[in-house]
């Protein structure tokens, strides 16, 4: 009996020990699982913090200004661009006013989203697009984006199509009318006059097409010729070519050339075309009896050609657009001067092909100075840098 009890007790003890060991193993397993879960939770939290940080960095560094406004109008969140507007003056004060206005509009109107475009006269002129969206709990998200460049490109595209149609359709329309009139006309004097006008209009279309082809060639010429070109020779050639037009209006073309002559590696024909267009414009838009100056300059690794006139000048608002194809400051005047509207576009592409720049400084009534600045493309000199000196006038 005693043995039976002992055996039972030992059995129970064994079961208890086994159970305890099982529970222990289970506890260790649960503990390990808990640790793994904790690790996963920590990792998830770290990942969430990193994602939040990334999102914050993205919003903070975004070029667009991001505002979150509370229902009271107080600013709950502003990224770097928005903070600049919040503390800004002048145009930015008006952008902030538009942000608050749009936010109020959204809250009053009960709509979910609203947009607005703001045009600022400046200077400088700029356009800002505002988009507002309602967030939960009555907050409003407003994003403002500077769309000045986008607008400019849209304008260029729209005007180009309109202008090219105008430039080609006007003379062709005139030619059609003249030809029609000539068909029914017998008077030889009148016929002679009409045919002269027909010829003039045909020449106009022809020169527009010539310039278009030239521009197209320059645009597509990715590898222009690179030959040593002396700028004094380019200037001399161009001045000679412009002389008849200048003489007709009693305009003196004066040159100021750096000595020794400036040289660069470039495409002579393209350079002559660019300088001719600048000089031709200067002569066309100068007052009779005035003076146009063509000068060359040289800096360390660049050479420059300036064409300065004392003519009618260019209004400030047109300055950034004069290099566009067919852009006209004054359409009526340009028709009387006979330009194709492509001259300055050619100059810009020649500068681009030579990895240079063309700039203009102008005031209405005071004249304009166009400056073509090009890298000389020559091997670096061994000695000290060369500067402007020894300018001679002729």
């Amino acid at each position: 009996m005693m043995a039976l009890v002992l055996t039972g007790a030992l059995g129970a003890l064994g079961v208890a020990v086994a159970a305890a060991m099982w529970w222990r193993r289970r506890a260790v397993g649960v503990q390990a699982e808990l640790q793994a879960m904790r690790r996963r939770a920590v990792q998830a939290e770290q990942a969430a913090v990193a994602a939040q940080g990334r999102l914050h960095d993205v919003i903070e560094g975004a070029p667009a200004a991001v505002f979150v406004l509370e229902p009271s109008g107080a600013v709950a969140l502003a990224n770097a661009a928005a903070s600049a507007i919040l503390t800004g003056r002048h145009g930015d004060a008006l952008v902030l006013e538009a942000v608050r206005g749009l936010c109020g509009e959204l809250q009053r109107g009960g709509v979910e989203q609203a947009t607005r475009a703001l045009d600022l006269a400046g200077p400088p002129r700029r356009s800002v697009a505002l988009t507002a969206r309602r967030l939960p709990e009555g907050e409003v998200l407003v994003i403002t984006d500077d769309i000045t460049e986008r607008r400019r490109i849209d304008d260029v595209r729209r005007d180009f199509v309109a202008n090219i149609s105008h430039e080609l359709k006007t003379p062709i329309g005139a030619m059609a009318l003249l030809a029609e009139t000539m068909t029914d006309e017998d008077d030889p004097q009148l016929l002679a006059r009409l045919s002269q006008r027909l010829h003039r209009e045909a020449m106009r279309v022809s020169s527009t097409i010539d310039d278009l082809l030239l521009l197209s060639r320059i645009e597509t010429d990715e590898q222009p010729r690179r030959e040593p070109v002396r700028l004094d020779e380019v200037v001399a050639h161009v001045v000679e070519r412009s002389q008849p037009a200048a003489a007709l209006r009693d305009i003196e073309v004066r040159t100021e050339l750096v000595e020794p002559p400036v040289e660069l590696l470039g495409d002579r024909r393209q350079l002559e075309s660019a300088v001719y267009n600048l000089l031709d414009n200067a002569v066309k838009y100068s007052d009779e009896g005035s003076e146009v100056v063509v000068r060359t300059t040289r800096n360390e690794r660049t050479v420059g050609i300036e064409v300065a006139d004392r003519g009618i000048g260019i209004p400030a608002k047109d300055l950034e657009r004069v290099f566009e194809r067919f852009y006209r400051v004054d359409r009526a005047r340009s028709r009387s001067t006979g330009g194709t509207g492509l001259g300055l576009a050619i100059v810009r592409h020649v500068a681009y092909n030579h990895e240079g720049t063309v700039r203009v400084a102008s005031r209405e009534g005071e004249g304009s100075t166009f400056r073509l600045e090009l890298p000389d493309g020559l091997p670096a000199p061994a000695g000290s840098p060369v500067t402007d000196e020894g300018i001679t006038a002729s």
Binding site: R89, H90, D92, P123, R363, G365
Partner: protein, 255 residues
């Protein structure tokens, strides 16, 4: 409690300052648009500018009311009092500047159809840029309480005065060349005067800022002339009194 009231006062003052900055931005925007209206003969824009002036008037009235309330309820002293006094006068200068932009637009409407010679157009564009630049500099000085910049505006204004003289000269030349009839010439002379007056308002704002920063008000030229006259009169009286007493003394000596 007092700290809380002071914080509230400064919050309110900051709001008023923000309104002044906004009003200046609205006024300069109007000036540039007024010049565009004049140079491009854009009559649609002209009416929009005239209408927009009402918004500036409303804002100006609100700023004035808030300044009066601050004066009445907070009893500011020293720098705070100067800030409010200066702000009230700057408010008035900006409101007048916007009115002058409206006058430019009205002048543009009166000369509608008149082709302006390039030289006059160029100077108008420069006067406009200069007037806008001066108001902006004045507001920069105001927001940063930069007294020296405020005081410097008087000298900076010389450029606008010079442009006005050049404009009048160019106008006479255009008139004598028969490029500009008399009636538009008179309107243009007035328009040039409006730009020049905007510059004067910017100078006034600069003077208010200098006063706000230092507490020393610049003496008005009229007041300075009266003081000088009074000093001269006193010096003359002293000299004649001295002469009389010298005379008396010599008479006594002779006796």
């Amino acid at each position: 409690m007092a700290d809380e009231m002071r914080k509230g006062f400064h919050r309110e003052l900051d709001d008023v300052r923000a309104d002044i900055v906004k009003m200046a931005a609205m006024a300069t925007e109007m000036m540039t648009r007024a010049t565009d209206t004049l140079l491009d003969a854009d009559m649609l824009m002209a009416q929009a500018i005239i209408d927009h002036d009402d918004d500036i008037d409303v804002l100006s009235q609100a700023v004035e009311d808030r300044c009066f309330r601050l004066l009445a309820l907070q009893g500011p002293m020293a720098a705070d009092l100067r800030a409010i006094a200066a702000t009230m006068r700057i408010n008035s200068d900006l409101e007048r500047s916007a009115d002058l932009a409206v006058n430019i637009v009205k002048g543009a409407r009166r000369i509608y159809g008149q082709v302006l010679p390039p030289r006059l157009r160029g100077i108008i564009a420069q006067m406009s840029e200069e007037a806008v630049r001066m108001i902006r500099l004045a507001i920069d000085a105001y927001t940063e309480t930069d007294g020296p910049l405020g005081a410097a505006l008087d000298d900076i204004d010389n450029r606008l005065d010079q442009l006005q003289s050049e404009f009048v000269q160019a106008m006479f030349e255009a008139h004598s060349d028969e490029a500009l009839p008399l009636q538009p010439a008179v309107q243009l002379a007035l328009i040039a005067r409006y730009y020049e007056r905007i510059g004067d308002h910017a100078v006034n704002i600069g003077e208010r800022v200098a006063f706000m920063a230092s507490g020393a008000a610049r003496e008005h030229p009229g007041a300075a002339r009266i003081r000088e006259r009074a000093q001269q009169a006193a010096a003359q009286a002293a000299a004649s009194g001295q002469g009389t007493s010298d005379q008396g003394a010599s008479d006594q000596g002779a006796n």
